[in-house]
C-alpha cells in the first residue's frame, strides 16, 4: 500500500534527473504539498505549468488553465482559502497583470506562491532570454504600503529547494511568497536530486481550533492570525477593504487601517531572522566584495574563488532572500570592505537598497548588463580589477 | 386581521412597501424613527389581506407581516 508521499515521488519520476529550472520549481511545489495550480502560458515560464498539469491529476490535485494572469492569481487565492497550498507561475508581462490580486493576497493574508521566470522588458521585450528586470516590481508593483517575501535561487537544485522554502514561509506568515528565477535558469538543464522527506522541513498554516470567539484577522503567534478554511463553519468574511479583526470592512477608520497595515508589515519585518537567507564566500580578509543574486552569482562565485587562489582579497555575498532586504548583512560587509561591486542583469535595481544599507561606508559600483546575456567571469574579473585600482 | 412588525434600525423609509401595497393599507408615518426617517405604518389593518408583498419587497428585511392574535379568545 503506497502512501500519498510515495505517490508524489512516483508522479515526479526518477530521484535523479536532468531537468530545467522550471521543472524544478514544479517539483518543489509538489514536494511542499501544493495541490492546486492555476496559470496562463508565457515564455519562459510555461514549463512550470506543463509539469503541474502532468503531475497534479496523478496525485488528485487540481490544475486549471485560466484566461489570463489576473485570473490565475485570483484562482490561487480563492483556492488557498479552502485550505490547500496553491501556486502560479509567470514571467514579466504576466507578473504585471498579477499585481492587483497580489495586493489582495497580501491584504487578506492568503498563503500562496508565485514563480516569476524573468525575461527582459519593458513590455514584451525578449521573451526567450533571461533578465532580472522585475526585482523592484516585486517589491513595489502592487499599490499601497506592504512588505513582500522574495527568494532568488541560483541553480536548478536550489530552485526546487527554495520553492519548498517559499511554501513554508507563505504558510508560516500567511502571505504570498515570490520565487524569482530568470529565463536562463528556467530553461537550463542541470542535475537534480529529489530529496527524501526527512531531508527537508514542511510548515503548515496555523488553523483556528474553536469557532467560539474566533476573530479571523486578530494577530496570533508572530502577529499571524489563525486560519479557518472556507466550508469549515467559521463563516469568515474576507475583503480587500481595510477590515477589523472580525474581518468586517472599516475603510473609513484611520486607526484600524493603521493597525492592520502596520501589522501586515511587521509580521514580516519582525521575523527577518527566520526569513532572510544568504551565502558568504571569502568574507574573511576581504577588500573588494561582490554582492550578487540569482544566476549572476554563479559566475561571481567562480571569479571570487579563482581570485582568492591568486591571492586577491575578494569575497562574495550571495543574496538568497531579496525581500525583505537583508540590510544588516550588507551593512556588516560594508563596514569591512573597501568597495562593493554589484553585477545585475538590469539597469540597476537591487543596487539601490544595497547603497542604502551601505550608507556611504564604501563605494558601490554597479555592473549592469542587459540584452539577455549573462555576465562572463572575464567581465566580472575586469570590473573587480578596475574597482581595486580605484580604491586600493 | 394582520399587523406588521418593523425593524426600525434597518428600515430606511424608502417607501417601496407603501408603493407596492395592493390594498393601499400602508402609509408613511409622520413620526420619526431613531434613524431620522419616517417609517411605514399599517393604517388599514382590516383592509390588509396579509399578502406579504411588502415583506417580500422590502430591500432591508425590515417588515414582517403577522396575523393578529386575539388576546380574549
Amino acid at each position: 500500500m503506497s502512501t500519498h508521499r510515495d505517490r508524489l515521488r512516483q508522479a515526479m519520476g526518477d530521484k535523479v534527473q536532468f531537468v530545467q529550472g522550471d521543472d524544478a520549481c514544479a517539483y518543489g511545489a509538489i514536494l511542499a504539498g501544493c495541490t492546486f495550480f492555476a496559470g496562463y502560458p508565457i515564455t519562459p515560464a510555461t514549463e512550470v505549468a506543463e509539469r503541474m498539469a502532468e503531475i497534479l491529476p496523478k496525485i488528485e490535485g487540481c490544475y486549471i488553465q485560466m484566461e489570463d494572469e489576473i485570473a490565475s492569481m485570483g484562482a490561487i487565492v480563492g483556492a488557498s482559502w479552502t485550505g490547500v497550498k496553491t501556486m502560479t507561475a509567470t514571467s514579466g508581462p504576466g507578473f504585471s497583470l498579477m499585481q492587483e490580486n497580489l495586493g489582495y493576497a497580501i491584504m487578506t493574508e492568503t498563503p500562496c506562491v508565485i514563480v516569476n521566470v524573468q525575461r527582459s522588458g519593458p513590455s514584451t521585450g525578449q521573451p526567450t532570454l533571461g533578465a532580472y528586470g522585475d526585482m523592484m516590481q516585486a517589491r513595489w508593483g502592487t499599490h499601497g504600503d506592504h512588505e513582500i517575501i522574495m527568494l532568488c535561487p541560483a541553480s536548478v537544485q536550489e530552485a526546487m529547494e527554495l520553492t519548498i522554502v517559499a511554501f513554508n514561509l507563505a504558510e508560516a506568515y500567511r502571505t504570498p511568497v515570490l520565487v524569482f528565477i530568470d529565463g536562463e535558469l528556467g530553461h537550463m538543464r542541470e542535475r537534480l536530486v529529489i530529496p527524501e522527506d526527512d531531508e527537508f522541513e514542511l510548515v503548515e498554516r496555523t488553523c483556528a481550533t474553536s469557532r467560539e470567539g474566533y476573530r479571523p484577522f486578530a494577530a496570533g503567534e508572530n502577529l499571524v492570525p489563525a486560519f479557518a478554511p472556507f466550508g469549515a463553519g467559521f463563516r469568515t468574511y474576507v475583503t480587500g477593504l481595510t477590515h477589523n479583526e472580525a474581518g468586517l470592512p472599516r475603510s473609513a477608520s484611520a486607526p484600524i487601517h493603521d493597525q492592520l497595515v502596520r501589522r501586515l508589515a511587521d509580521k514580516i519585518l519582525r521575523n527577518t531572522d527566520q526569513i532572510i537567507r544568504y551565502e558568504e564566500f571569502g568574507a574573511e580578509e576581504c577588500e573588494i566584495a561582490i554582492i550578487a543574486y540569482g544566476i549572476t552569482a554563479r559566475a561571481c562565485r567562480d571569479v571570487v574563488e579563482e581570485g582568492r587562489q591568486r591571492g586577491l582579497k575578494v569575497g562574495l555575498l550571495r543574496l538568497i532572500t531579496i525581500w525583505p532586504f537583508p540590510d544588516e548583512v550588507v551593512a556588516r560587509w560594508a563596514a569591512r570592505v573597501q568597495a562593493i561591486l554589484v553585477p545585475e542583469m538590469n539597469l540597476g535595481q537591487i543596487v539601490h537598497p544595497i547603497r542604502e544599507a551601505v550608507a556611504g561606508r564604501c563605494p558601490v559600483m554597479l555592473q549592469s548588463k542587459i540584452g539577455g546575456e549573462l555576465h562572463t567571469p572575464t567581465e566580472l574579473s575586469e570590473a573587480l580589477e578596475e574597482l581595486r585600482c580605484q580604491v586600493c | 386581521m394582520h399587523v406588521i412588525e418593523l425593524n426600525e434600525h434597518w428600515c430606511k423609509g424608502c417607501r417601496v412597501c407603501v408603493f407596492h401595497c395592493p390594498t393601499r393599507s400602508l402609509r408613511i408615518a409622520s413620526r420619526f424613527t431613531m434613524r431620522g426617517i419616517h417609517p411605514p405604518e399599517l393604517v388599514e389593518a382590516e383592509r390588509c389581506n396579509g399578502c406579504r408583498l411588502c415583506e417580500l419587497l422590502c430591500p432591508d428585511f425590515a417588515i414582517t407581516v403577522m396575523e393578529a392574535v386575539s388576546v380574549n379568545a
Binding site: 489576473i70 485570473a71 492569481m73 480587500g240 | -
Partner: protein
Amino acid sequence: MSGLLKLKTAAELRQTYLRHEMFPTIFCDGCGLGNVLNYTLWALDELQLDLDRTVFVSGIGCSSRLSGYVNADGMHTTHGRALAFASGIKAAQPDLNVIVFTGDGDGSGIGGNHLLHTIRRNMDLTVILVNNFTYGMTGGQAAPTTPIDSFSTTTPYGNIEYPLDICALAQTLGAPYVARWMINQPYPPIKSIAQGIQKRGFALIEMLVPCPTAYGRRNGLKQLETIWQWYREHTILIDDYEHIMHFGSPEERAALHDTIKIGVFQDCERESFEARWATLVEQVKL
C-alpha cells in the same frame, strides 16, 4: 422543489441568514439590491442549503457588497475578478456551493473576459449578476449595459455606445442556465435562483435593479415610483415576446422595440468543469 413556495418570514430570515454587524445596508432609497439579497436568501431557504458549506463571492461595486450581509463564508474580491476567485474555490473544493454576486460593470465590463471563459469552462457556479445600467458606487458613469442615448456623468451628451445583452452572450456560450428578472415580482426570481443553485454547471441570473440615485436621476427616473414603474413597463416575459413576434401585427411587434425580455432563456444539461476534472483524475491518478 414544490411548485408553491412557503417562505420564511423576513424576521426569521434575518435571524437565520444575516450578519447583523453589517446592517443596516449601505443601499440608497429605491435601490433594489436588498431585494436581490432577500430573494437569494429565500431561495437558499427553499433548498435548505447548508450555510456552513456555501461561499458567497463578489467583486467590487454596490452589488458586490451583498456577500458581506450573509452570515456565511464570503469573499469580497477585486474589481471584475469575482469569477476567477470563485473558480479557484470551486475547483479546489467542488463540494462547496459557490454563489457569486456581481454587477453589470463588475461582471461584464472589467470582468467580461472572466465571464466569457468561466461560462466556456462551465464552472459549477451560481452567478447573480445585478444590472442597474450604471457604475453606481463611483457615482453613475456609463457602463457596458447603459442604454443607448442615456445620460451618465461620463456621457453628458448621451451614450453613443450599444449596450451588451449579457444573457444573450451567456446563452451563446452554452451556459446551462440563463435567466433574467426584474425585482418588482418576488416569486419568479426566488424560484429561478433556486433553480440556478441546483443546476450542475454555470447558472447566470441577471437581475434588473433600479438605481434612482446614480442612473435614474439623470434619465428622468429619479422618483422611486417612476423608476420601479419603468421596469414594469419596459420588461416582457420571453413567452409573451415570442408570441407577439409570431402572431402580432407590425405595430404590436414594433412596440416591443424598447422592451427588455425577462424569463428563463436557457435550461439544459452540460457536464461541468468539476465533473469532467473528476473523471480525468479517476483515469490518471496513481
